[in-house]
Symmetry: C2
Subunit: 381 residues, 2 copies
């Protein structure tokens, strides 16, 4: 079984086109990774994901630990078999969820005590337990347990959380190594997460400490797109681009609006994920090359055009805006399914086109043109 | 463009295997027709329907008149294009809905006044308006507007409604003929509906009056499975089997549980429809050869088996009961989609097997064996 590797096949300024190889398949970067929080990309199935050329999907350790339980998933053959997706999977550690979704009780050096958002039951996560959970789930790429703080936290709070995340990484690494010693341990790689809020020095220190603590197959940047301004986010990406080795993939966590994807690619990011395309789809909104469409607007009532005339997804090849608006208005499940499908397809296709532009050495111009049209909304008005 | 015809290719006692030919394709009978009330078979898309070998689907004139409007559907190219289903479609007239779902204001010889179940707006249906709606929608088979009464209505009320339905059929026929004179009128056939509650003489009189009023490409039996006992329903089917010509297809409206399908086939029924498979799917229940499964039951939590080991649907080929239970428990859309898909596939496949048994001359024995296993629940306990 081959391991993990990353190869940069083309660069254009700081943007990169690469190939991330995993034991379960190859991921061409830059790439958008659909989010299947509870082992299902909401409203879609694995065949939908293959049809839209998704190459890697996410799932979430916090959610799957609570429901249906990571031990159960392990007993049923692991996450790939459970959700019938045989390609690469990445699991997030639950760091973000215990600090946002759950009711937090306390954070100590040992770990986090919180209450389940489902039934209020008392729970505790430590770096060691999270490694056990993610090993049980058996994803290909697993994330360290990290300390996540609000986007605009002050320097002292951000420093505390960033440094704790580095210390927790060391514990994750030790436990991860211990769990590898078991005979049938899944072949996985552990990604560290750089925290530090909107403070350049903290991001730089964290990147340096993580680089010095071992060899990693990739690096994640966490704690962005959580309420800070765009300029702050871009400044942090610039720092991380400078502070991280160019030879490994960089994963910008939880960022997935089209304009943010392009800004990230321009700053050397390779991997992205976000619930936005499925969440917006369930709310009746579609991404298009001409901007966002709200299908609830009466203006779409009799519109025979597809959501996006340039999109090749199933929703755009077969159905009109009028039909999809009818489904959304009537609360038909097919409506939110078609919009979710289109939105995820749209982001995957956008990253494929970014990759082509990087290979052609035209990323900057292509990206500017794309954004100008996206913000013009001329297509849809 | 060919017209409508029916050919019986095999008989076994009163059960028949036939071919119902329509301008948009051939339907092998007996057949279960999935219901797409609002121009969408709930949670499924046309590719799903083709994969499970659905040959004809339903939509509903009442619902589509209210939302999005039958004129809009016509302007967008008709129901087939609107919902991206190029096979045969049958529209129900709304008779059942105005007497059940809407708030009824009055029934006169002219028609029915009622309030929309969506916004309470005042509406009126006449046989003529319903023909206009169904012509706008452009389905292949359209149903007459009928007077539907509660299942256990007394003889006087049932006689009144049954005879009114026959008079309304004549008006439907006249308006249907008038609408055919338009240049681009869709190629459609109008099916009469036999009403009469649970009263044998009324069913017989209605069948006789309808037969005497013209040539029909098929006959529907309405107002059953609406609260009367099974014995009453079977007695009415026996009467209708005797009173209807054997050369045309018979459609038993709104009946779709497995045991009722087999009982109907045994009594000479060819076409069935019901919302049960999708509604039950959304509620977490699956049909299986060994009886019904409620996926909400904790007993399925760690069960690696498919819903039905003998089923070839996508849900059964790829996913475990454990995974589907997880999805249902977590309110994931994929869960109700997989259950809806399985249940509709299950009924379509059941009718295909019934057809094979009729052709082999073994329907009665096969049907008994199938029901014994279905009621034993041995497979799933």
């Amino acid at each position: 079984m081959p391991g993990f590797s990353f190869e940069i096949v083309a660069s254009d300024a700081r943007a990169r086109a690469g190939v991330f190889r995993t034991p379960r398949g190859t991921v061409e970067t830059p790439v958008f990774m659909p989010v299947g929080t509870l082992a299902s990309v909401k409203a879609l199935d694995p065949d939908d994901l293959r049809t839209m050329h998704a190459e890697i999907v996410l799932a979430n350790a916090y959610h799957l630990h609570l429901r249906p339980g990571d031990s159960l998933v392990r007993d049923l053959g692991g996450l790939h078999r459970f959700m019938a997706w045989d390609g690469p999977i990445l699991t997030d550690s639950g760091g973000f969820q215990v600090f946002s979704l759950a009711s937090l009780n306390s954070v100590t050096e040992d770990g986090v005590e919180f209450r389940s958002h489902i039934d209020g039951s008392a729970r505790a996560f430590t770096p060691e337990l999270v490694m056990q959970i993610e090993t049980n789930l058996g994803a290909d790429v697993i994330m360290q347990f990290d300390h996540v703080i609000p986007g605009q936290s002050d320097h002292a709070a951000a420093k505390d959380a960033s440094e704790r995340s580095v210390r927790w990484l060391a514990r994750c690494r030790t436990e991860f190594a211990r769990l590898r010693a078991v005979d049938d341990a899944p072949k996985q790689t552990l990604f560290p997460i750089i925290q530090g809020g909107i403070h350049q020095d903290l991001r730089r220190s964290a990147a340096s400490a993580i680089r010095g603590s071992g060899d990693w197959d990739g690096f994640a940047i966490g704690g962005l797109s959580v309420g800070e301004g765009k300029d702050s986010m871009y400044a942090m990406l610039d720092v991380c681009d400078d502070a991280l080795p160019r030879e490994q993939p960089r994963y910008l966590m939880g960022v997935g609006f089209p304009e943010d994807l392009l800004a990230g690619v321009a700053r050397g990011i390779d991997l992205f994920d976000c619930v936005a395309p499925t969440r917006m789809g369930r709310n009746g909104t579609a991404f298009t090359g001409g901007g966002r469409l709200n299908l609830k607007n009466a203006g779409h009532r009799a519109d025979p055009r597809p959501l996006d005339v340039e999109c090749g997804c199933v929703a755009c090849r077969k159905f009109s805006r009028s039909y999809i608006r009818h489904l959304v208005t009537a609360d038909e499940i097919l409506g939110l399914r078609l919009l979710s499908l289109h939105n995820v397809h749209f982001l995957i296709a956008l990253m494929r086109r970014a990759r082509e532009a990087i290979r052609a050495g035209t990323f900057d111009a292509w990206s500017r043109d794309w954004l100008a049209r996206y913000h013009s909304t001329s297509v849809n008005e």
